[in-house]
Point group: C2
Chain length 118, copies 2
């Protein structure tokens, strides 16, 4: 399983708009081939900072299938709609830093009822 | 549920040593109060980059209970043992960037058998 992790910094006051934008994009990922779901996490120490986690079965599901799909254009459109919420000057630093990760080691939770880790 | 996310850059060639060090630290987290497990993920695009995810029931389980425990000294000792693997000059940039996150929004997977997201 591959995890796409995007770190996104949002302008103060634009958090609700950004969160709504992510929720609006949910159907795009729900129907994407090989996509196993998405989660948005918000920083506790830096409230304008978010991390978006998207799970893909393979790297190709993300780089080829999704980026080659009609839904990728839909996703870009949705991102453009909330781009006003992104912090940072494009020339100085990127508001979005995106990387792909794969699991290397997992320590299972000590409680059976706990959710597994990412 | 709180997720502690640490981004760690490792010197080329020191990956195995680092990964072993993380595995050796597993018991410390396994017995920590409120710790719901740990996962190490490795970047696909930047092989020397890792993200370590630790799940805590509450912020205090991490900031107070763990940092106030005898096991925290044990953890620091284990980190010191693998510090030679960390990339980056301490004065220029930090090899470890650590932040706390909480879940804001989750899109469940379309497959019932899939693991939930972080």
């Amino acid at each position: 399983m591959i995890t796409e992790i995007a770190q996104i910094d949002i302008k103060p006051g634009m958090e609700a708009e950004f969160e709504t934008g992510v929720k609006n994009a949910a159907p795009v990922f729900q129907r994407a081939k090989g996509c196993h779901g998405l989660e948005l996490q918000r920083s506790i120490e830096k409230p304008g900072r978010y991390r978006l986690f998207v799970k893909w079965a393979t790297v190709e599901n993300h780089t080829v299938d999704f980026r080659g799909s009609a839904d990728f254009a839909e996703w870009r459109k949705l991102v453009a709609q909330i781009a006003g919420a992104f912090a940072g000057e494009r020339r100085n630093r990127r508001a979005i830093e995106r990387e792909l990760f794969h699991g290397e080691y997992t320590l299972a939770s000590k409680n059976d009822d706990d959710l597994p880790l990412p």
